[in-house]
Amino acid sequence: MEKEQFVTIEGKRVPIEGEKNLLELIRKAHFNIMTFCYHPELAAYGACRLCLVEVEGMGIVASCTVKPKDGMKVHVNTDEIRHLRRINLELLLSSGNHDCTLCSKSNNCKLQKLAKDMDVTEIRFKSKKLDSHKDATSPALVRDHSKCILCGNCVRICNEVQGIGAIDFAFRGFRSKIATAFNKELGQSHECVSCGQCARVCPTGALMPNSSEIEDVFKAINDPKKKVAVHIAPAVRVGLGEMFGLPQGQNVDGKIATALRMLGFDYVYDTAFAADLTIVEEATEFLERFKKGVNLPQFTSCCPAWINYVEKFAPEFIPNLSTARSPMQMMGPILKADYEDKGGKREDLVVVAVMPCSAKKTEAKRDEFYVNDNPDTDYVVTTVGLARMIKEAGIDFVNLENEWFDMPFGTKTGAGVIFGASGGVMEAALRYALAELDPANARSVKFSSLREGTVFKEKTVEIGDVKIRTAVVSGLKNARKLLDDIKAGKDHYDFIEVMSCQGGCVAGAGQPQFDGWAPRRKRAEGLYQEDTELAYKSQDNSGVQALYGRILDKVGGPLAHKLLHTHYYDRKDRTGQQK
């Protein structure tokens, strides 16, 4: 047996167990050294210099980039290191606008936390870069360069995980900044797909989902002429609790329903209802394509950043996208049609969607989702945005009783709920398809391969001698690789679920900030738990069934098509190429 290897950290022997760097080992030893540029999901960068430690024989090193070696003796809190760390922090605080009381990231900001932990009460250096120009041109995200500490996490996630590179470092030295191509405002960026993963890994308030709509939502609620309907996406119920100190992944849908009513919403619905509707339309579409053998593989279309990606970077796959709208964009027109059906005026119903996502904000603003200048979805609020509304209203969320969603658009099946986790849409679609094709054996098929694993999963179902090959991919760089392999003829699938965020919507940019895979798993578990308490497949949703024949004609019918399907545009940049 190989000899165990140890590093001695402040006199304590800590075994090396495959940690990729010294920092991980130090954290394992419960020295929780805070850093900005080190992120467990990204490549080490070594720039913030807060993880400096002293290794005997090596001197002062950045622990995030040192490989642990047997016998190393490490000191993490010598006077010199404490001093260097403090100066570094003072330098960061001197550069930019760090007025915590006026920052939405307050209480959730790493810079603030570190300054508090180190009790920094005075900065010896002159304040610089105080100009706080906010770039709020993108509906999805707001940037504030004066809060940026140039850790580069956003640049790396956009490159390494999403494979896009919409932002990068520009200029040099003290003038360095994170910029889009040609330093455009984010709203004018051709490359940004609004996935918001950059905001998820931003340690400060430099990049955050755009929350400007919250004010409009409050106004609509207080407008006596309007009725306001709200619906919450599956991932929201397993994310929001964290904002109130509840355990990660705890499903708080009952409390949310209560809180939404207390906020003054007139109708409180569940996006999972529309998810069931999406499955009915999308799975039906798939079965038709599958029978005819056209436009395969079919790609899911409920992730708006993925749609942006295909339109901008892979328009050759547009025919492969399902034309079914996302649940959010099915819910809006259905609610408005229902309101009109009951004699109301379309523009008097305000539809608010609570989403775990920043890209949903851009989706709601697409031209094709407007009828006579009135949008299908009026406002999109993120999970974190909803928490803010609850806090502002003074609602004691933790101690709320559970209430239930309003009918009929609060009904849902487990298939609709699991949409929030990567693999959930595919599982829901296969539940639908199997019931249509092979009702006798439908319930015996297990989907563990779509629930376990991380960014790439597969499942092949066999019905007689018919095989349906499906894949689930999350993270756009992984999606790109899959597209390339399909183009190269290396991979063959019939149906593919793509989510832009690794792990699916539970890991969206609108959710409370987190690192690593454990939080994603806990949130997904919360959804799969609710699934066990609900009906199994989307076609069993009584509310959905009632819809066909009342507001819609039949599944896949012309009226259903008008309200529930959409189309896509080739938006690829072809500067300089002959048209």
Binding site: N159, D168, F171, A181, F182, E191, T575, G576, Q577
Partner: protein, 161 residues
């Protein structure tokens, strides 16, 4: 291929569409177009299959690249060590004053002059040195610098007549 992009396309071809040669490519593009226009950078990025933000990042990192057009006449004042200890900063300040350049501005409003302060032109024996449109002027003084600029302004005015 539109005419505007043809030279850039040729440059890409000469560099085998190799994205690791981005810097030489941008150097040639700048030689051709006099600066790095946005649409050309975007074209380069698309053709090399790299993000335009990366091209922009590289273009703004290196001092030699210009993302805005330069003036008709380029004045380079050396601020290398030898020139500095012999008073080049006085020359630079005087030129800035003369051309009415604000801090951070290097090209005059009328696009006539661009002032570049460079680190060592290698003519330390002639320090301090100023280069007006590739003509080296050694042992420059603030007054001589103004004289040289005035002569260029005068010949421009003459040409305009």
């Amino acid at each position: 291929m539109t005419d505007r992009f043809a030279p850039a396309a040729k440059i890409l071809e000469d560099h085998q569409y190799d994205s690791s040669k981005l810097i030489p490519i941008l150097q040639k593009v700048q030689d051709e177009y006099k600066y790095l226009p946005e649409d050309i950078m975007r074209f380069i990025a698309n053709e090399l299959d790299i993000s335009p933000a990366r091209v922009f990042g590289v273009a703004t990192f290196f001092a030699h690249f210009a993302i805005t057009p330069k003036g008709k006449h380029i004045i380079r004042v050396c601020n290398g060590t030898a020139c500095h200890v012999k008073g080049s900063s006085f020359v630079i300040n005087t030129v800035k004053d003369k051309l009415k350049l604000k801090d951070g501005q290097d090209t005059t409003e009328d696009m006539m002059f661009t002032l570049e302060c460079v680190s060592c032109l290698g003519a330390c024996g002639l320090a301090p040195v100023m280069v007006m449109d590739d003509v080296v002027h050694g042992q420059i003084t603030p007054a001589k610098a103004v004289e040289i600029i005035d002569s260029v302004i005068a010949s421009e005015a003459k040409n305009a007549d």
